[in-house]
Amino acid sequence: MDEFQEILQDFLVESFELVEKLDEDLVELENTPEDLELLNGIFRVAHTVKGASSFLNFDVLTHLTHHMEDVLNKARHGDLIITPDIMDVILESIDLMKALLNTIRDTSADAGIDVAECVMKLDKISGGDGVVPVAAAPVIEKEEVVAEETVAEDEPDYDNMDPDELEAEIERLLTQRQEEDKAKRNAKIEAGETVLAAPEVQEEIPKPVTTPVPVQKIPVTPKKETAEAPKAAAPTKRTPAAVEQTIRVDVKRLDHLMNLIGELVLAKNRLIKINDDVEERYEGEEFLEELNQVVSIVSLVTTDLQIAVMKTRMLPIGKVFNKFPRMIRDLTRELNKKIELEISGEDTELDKSIVEEIGDPLVHIIRNSCDHGIEIPDVRSGQGKSETGIITLKAYNEGNQIVIQIDDDGKGLDPNMLKDKAIEKGLITEKEADNMSEKEAFLLIMRPGFSTAAAVTNVSGRGVGMDVVKTNIDKVNGIIDVESKIGEGTSMKLKIPLTLAIIQALLVGVQEEYYAIPLASVLETVRISKEEIYTVEGRSVMRLRDDVLSLVHIGDIFEVERILDATEHAYVVVLGLGATKLGLIVDTLVGQEEIVIKSLGDYLKGIEGVAGATIRGDGGVTLIVDVVALMEMAKGVKATAMIEATSSESVSTEKNKASDYTVMIVDDSKTDRMIMRKALEPLGVTLVEASDGQEALGILKQGDYNFDTMLVDIEMPRMDGYTLATEIKKYNKYKNLPLIAVTSRTGKSDRMRGVESGMVEYITKPYSADYLSTVVQRNINFKSEFL
């Protein structure tokens, strides 16, 4: 059983690949029915699937492919021209084949799908001469076909045929085809279908090889250069495909590898940070250079490794583009339009997960272009355009992004009409419409529920499609750009990052927190002073060159508590997403860093404005800003509170007894702390000790005590007295906390530094206990009645 499953798996993987290729080839074949190589290739696919499925006892599939094979075999031998009508049937049978394969994948059996009708149609096509038996045993057939295939190899040798033989062959083929066509036309008319003018076969045929030139103009022609490139290479390319040096790897393994690389990148960032610290500490030491070398090699190799692994996950976008020629073909017939699809850049590579995400959006965009963009032939010729509309699908690299561009030369978008429709559907207010730029109006088509189509058709008009586009593109952090000119066409650009897992980000600080903003959305950063911020209709704005930029404070979005004193200056990070811009006010800019995106897990997923988290060089977690959501949220935030002075909490609680006063002693020497304690204990005040600046800051932040003053030593490990004073003064709450320096440094410059960092008194060691006590009493307004 297991063995069977294994074979089945292989069979499915192979078949799906083949079928995918088949679609593409068949559409191409319709344009160039004389391409024998192509025909042979297609025949082989049908044949391979048939052979394998008969071996695995999938009777329905075998039955179907067998009949397909018959038709294709005829075409291959030149007994049949592939007309669009025949192609319809063949494509239908391929759809059935796909459905069967899907059923097999899900249920390991091919029951439940009725192929009889399609088989009948196929029979009708091939049945003209009734040479091929319908229900022959597969094994025998296999032999037959193998034999035929060898014959097929010789086929191009018509040139060597005797002229008489050739004449006879042509005669035979002609009558045969005419009969077939007649039969088919009758069948169609009976079925009540409108038949396109069947191709009249010319009476004089020079050579069978060139015979099947279609008289009818076929609507779909993939761009010549792209269509021809694979064709030209076909004879050499197709056969050696089997010996291509590749191995199949489970995507899970690649994902795992990618995760490991992510860890490595984080470790590398950390190493670089440690290296910087060490450099600072041991400046001039010899081993530093060696360490530097190692660190740079590690970071270089890590970067290369990361790129290499990223590449293993890359797929050519052609995988997605492949299905469009077929789609366009079906749509043109459905909509009675003439549309050509030009594809270029299908070799451009993208991360697998992104390729999977963009398939649907592209389908919707192209359907939209076909249905709403391209006009019907009569209208087009009336406007002096060629009857055939052209849709171009392009993919190319642009910096760190892939751009997928979809252009059509249809009627274009009318911004005013779009606005009217949006107002009519209640999506926007009239006021919003007035303020809308042309580009913003174009983006209206992405809104859920928006549709310009007068009636819902099979193809579009439900107002769902373009919304899907936006959702999916947002999901991969992509940007949509729409340009359009009435009467000339529409151009849509999807800008998508190369990979999802590792991105460049700008790190910003607000109060004591840090956030990472994807660099792709950052247009520029500006340093501004508070006076440059204006308030218009309850919103903060600033002038940026000739534009007015609306502002929002990152602290308002992420509910950051304002504990630090606001500085005179702030930085504005200008975020751009398509046509919309927003200025994000932050306190500090930290710098650019490569970050690995980690999810917040199921428990915390879906937090508005947060796209994920990353681990920084110091091991801490930093949240990644979701720019799309942030722009939405910014609309709800009123004027930034940055200008308002934050109300400092009233710390002045009533002092009823001596122990209500609290004094912190910060000194690294235990003896010194003891001396101070002895000097102050007689007062009866509460004393708290800390052995260095860091500890003192920690105690302050915890907020267990309301300190009335602090005695600070200057020389301390980890954080000295000056730094401590500067840090403390950043907090609103402690701005007025008197800091008393107690130190043996007596130099004038030391005193100056003390004052600069916010110390109010400067006591030099040694001091008398009384003196210390007096200074402290003075600074905490000690009431003498407690003594």
């Binding site: 927190e513 917040l600 199921d602 915390l604 508005e608 404005g609 801490g620 977690v621 949240l623 267990d704």
Partner: protein, 165 residues
């Protein structure tokens, strides 16, 4: 002689077997901890690790009991303050505070607790159901373990790890 030895060994083996059976059948292993004044416990197998507190990053727009996220050897894990979740005022972390990392299936979260007590082995028959008044599917209480001198509330790990906002 060797036969006798074999016999003894076999006997011992049998005894051992019955011993372990006894243990696995009737005894539940829990880890006890204190939040506020109450003692709680969770099954020992649900605990991935117990660590000393370290720094975390605040996450906006979440209920107060979610302190934020922290980095546990490369994974970003949510940190939940059980004091606040259980309606007690939050308290500064001290030397006894621990982060309890619980794991069930793919769900992992860290929980702040006031103090660890001990690993507890308790007989199944000594575990009673949650009091009727707080019964139902919403309760976080799996049962109440009775020991000689105290009562331990056993918590449901899946409820603790369930997002409820």
């Amino acid at each position: 002689m060797s036969d006798k030895l074999k016999q003894i060994i076999n006997q011992q083996g049998d005894q051992h077997k019955t011993d372990t059976l006894d243990q696995s059948d009737d005894i539940v292993q829990l880890v006890g901890f204190v939040i506020g004044d109450e003692e709680y416990a969770v099954p020992i197998l649900a605990i991935q690790e117990i660590i000393k507190p370290f720094s975390w990053t605040r996450v906006p727009q979440v209920p107060h009991y979610i302190l934020g996220v922290f980095n546990l050897r490369g994974s970003v894990i949510p940190l939940i303050d059980l004091r606040v979740k259980f309606g007690l005022p939050s308290k500064n972390h001290n030397d006894e505070t621990r982060f309890f990392v619980l794991k069930q299936d793919d769900e992992v979260a860290g929980f702040v607790i006031d103090r660890l007590t001990m690993a507890i082995r308790i007989k199944k028959e000594n575990i009673g159901p949650a009091p009727d008044t707080i019964n139902g599917n919403d309760t976080m209480i799996d049962g109440v373990g009775k020991q000689e001198d105290r009562i331990i509330t056993i918590l449901k790990v899946d409820k603790l790890l369930e997002r409820d906002f």
